[in-house]
Symmetry: C2
Subunit: 354 residues, 2 copies
């Protein structure tokens, strides 16, 4: 198993990327660092010890965070594009990038391509809760999703929950709102009917709070809703932590209590440290494609590589392909009567799923 | 100033509703309790002291939490419908309900009506952050919103931030995602252009995390996105608190530290206690209309009545009407060239804003 790292992408590239990669390589994972070979050589030389199993592949260009995602089409020798090409040519089994997410998505879709039966790849994030873990997808690969896309997300989430979260018969929920006549409009009702017909363990509509209730193991939504959900939750966790630190720090009894309860706070922090997850997979691509946070430092990159390795170990890509193919045969039968994907559908690409 | 309370709505009606109302009445706010007069009389009689300024108006029916929102049309003698009628007839200046939200919305729209220039009322929630407070709307009154609706939300949010949060020149942001080509599709780009032309202090696109960054004082989005945001954030705050309690409680040093730092934890809890807000206003209705959490107990109802009173004190309703009218004159000029509200627009009522 080999994993390619876009060593030039992210706020702390290439230094932290190279360090994170070496930490993962020391655990026995074979890696390909893609980027400007001179810079990468310097970074590697500066390390106390270069672990075995690290190869460098040169890329003369970089898609920066400020670049338009489509810049990846022009920058044919960019690190992210070369990563995608290595995956396409099966020289690696997965790619990890902390660079321009939009560009990564374009590279994944256009260079690597999607598996049969998946029109749009989806980013899947795992949320911990009292009853286990809930996978939410899409959290940002697509701003809109038609019922057929939500169905594909559901299938991919189902396989992910089974293989990665070890959930036996994942309960799949459709993100909705509870405060509206008819609960969400025509598109959501269509999506509901499509999901009912998948043969998955569909538990119906869920709400935003169910990400933490554990009422569903998989929740599907369009990437706009999922992205707002993920980013607001991340920010809230940070805000609450800062608020608690401030309240504890502003009183000497608070500081003393915090000192005494330090192991408990450390355990709490480990449980809520989002960088432990490292990266979210872009499901539906022909191979592993992992998007790490742009702010990732070495530890987060190491976690990201570990997740990519888990993905490969679990043979998630093959299982996804098989399960999608299995359900794909029912698709026309299911969707044709709804006219859901018809060219004259009033729900064009710009419209939303619900 | 008089405020009507739907005493039959919510999980703890009428007992907690009556108690909360009495707590608010003791602060000098005149109230009308609407509901089954026999039950309400018993609840009032059971209290140690009935404060002055509480009137009871009889309603023989109740729209339950399980009822379809449109049940409010049939149940003409329901407590929420009578509340709406009192507001319509200007016998009260505001309504507070913890009952069926959908039904409350239908009652507000059909019985009370919207102010001129507002097609759809919006629920506005206030999120605290390091730099102050951010108003997000809509958080659930409508599942979809066209650019013209988002413009109306922006105007209402602007007035709300000025009058309630005392923000001088509120910065208005458009909820978006940062990971997509073209950042959100055609509808979002249209909304962007419409917001640019409002004369408000429009700061452009923001992301989910900006609810807590304080980069904007007002954030507009459709009610689907806003509702998922609100509910997931509420659930996350609860989940993190439970997690911290568990980690502290599972070690004796943790329990000791928590005991010593108790005042700090209490201060933290007060700052993050969402029931202090009590209720969210449904902006754009001809009068104050406040939606409290279905789980509200007496304290939350008291807070809700206080907020309703603040709303009336600040003359928010008149200011909203004036500001909307001021911007309304520009609307046709702004929107006509975009064909935004045309009958043959591809974005019908079922589609989404972005």
């Amino acid at each position: 198993m080999r994993i390619a790292i876009d060593a030039m992408g992210g706020d702390h590239a290439p230094g932290e990327l190279v360090r994170g990669a070496c930490m993962a390589a020391a655990e026995g994972i074979d890696l390909v660092l893609v980027g400007e070979s001179g810079r990468l050589g310097e970074e590697l030389a500066a390390l106390p010890k270069r672990p075995p199993g690290i190869e460098v592949v040169h890329a003369s260009q970089v898609v920066t965070m400020e670049d338009h995602p489509l810049a990846v089409r022009q920058k044919r020798d960019s690190s992210i594009r070369i990563c995608a090409r290595l995956l396409k040519e099966e020289r690696v089994q997965a790619v990890v990038t902390a660079g321009n997410t939009g560009a990564a998505m374009v590279a994944a879709k256009t260079v690597v391509g999607t598996i049969e039966g998946v029109d749009r790849p989806a980013l899947a994030a795992v949320f911990p809760n009292h009853r286990g873990k809930t996978v939410v997808l899409d959290i940002g690969a697509n701003v809109s999703a038609r019922p057929s896309h939500l169905r594909q997300f559901a299938v991919m989430g189902h396989v992910y929950a089974q293989l990665v979260n070890q959930t036996d018969r994942p309960r799949v929920g459709l993100m909705s709102v509870g405060v509206e006549e008819g609960k969400g409009g025509e598109m959501l009702r269509r999506a509901f009917r499509v999901l009912e017909g998948t043969g998955l363990n569909f538990v119906g509509n869920v709400e935003g709070g169910d990400v933490y209730s554990g009422e569903a193991d998989v929740i599907v939504c369009d990437g706009f809703v999922g992205n707002v959900l993920l980013k607001s939750n991340e920010a809230l966790a940070g805000y609450l932590a800062a608020l608690l630190r401030r309240e504890l720090g502003s009183r000497w009894l608070g500081r003393l209590g915090a000192l005494i309860a330090r192991p408990a706070f450390a355990a709490y922090k480990r449980r809520t440290d989002w960088s432990e997850y490292g990266a979210v997979p872009l499901l539906g691509v022909r191979g592993g494609f992992f998007i790490a946070h742009g702010r990732s430092r070495a530890h987060a990159i190491q976690s990201a590589v570990r997740r990519a390795a888990e993905f490969c170990d679990a043979d998630l890509h093959r299982r996804l392909r098989e399960k999608v193919a299995e359900l794909h045969s029912r698709e026309e039968e299911l969707l044709a009567p709804l006219g859901e994907d018809g060219a004259d559908s009033p729900w064009d690409g710009a419209s939303r799923p619900v």
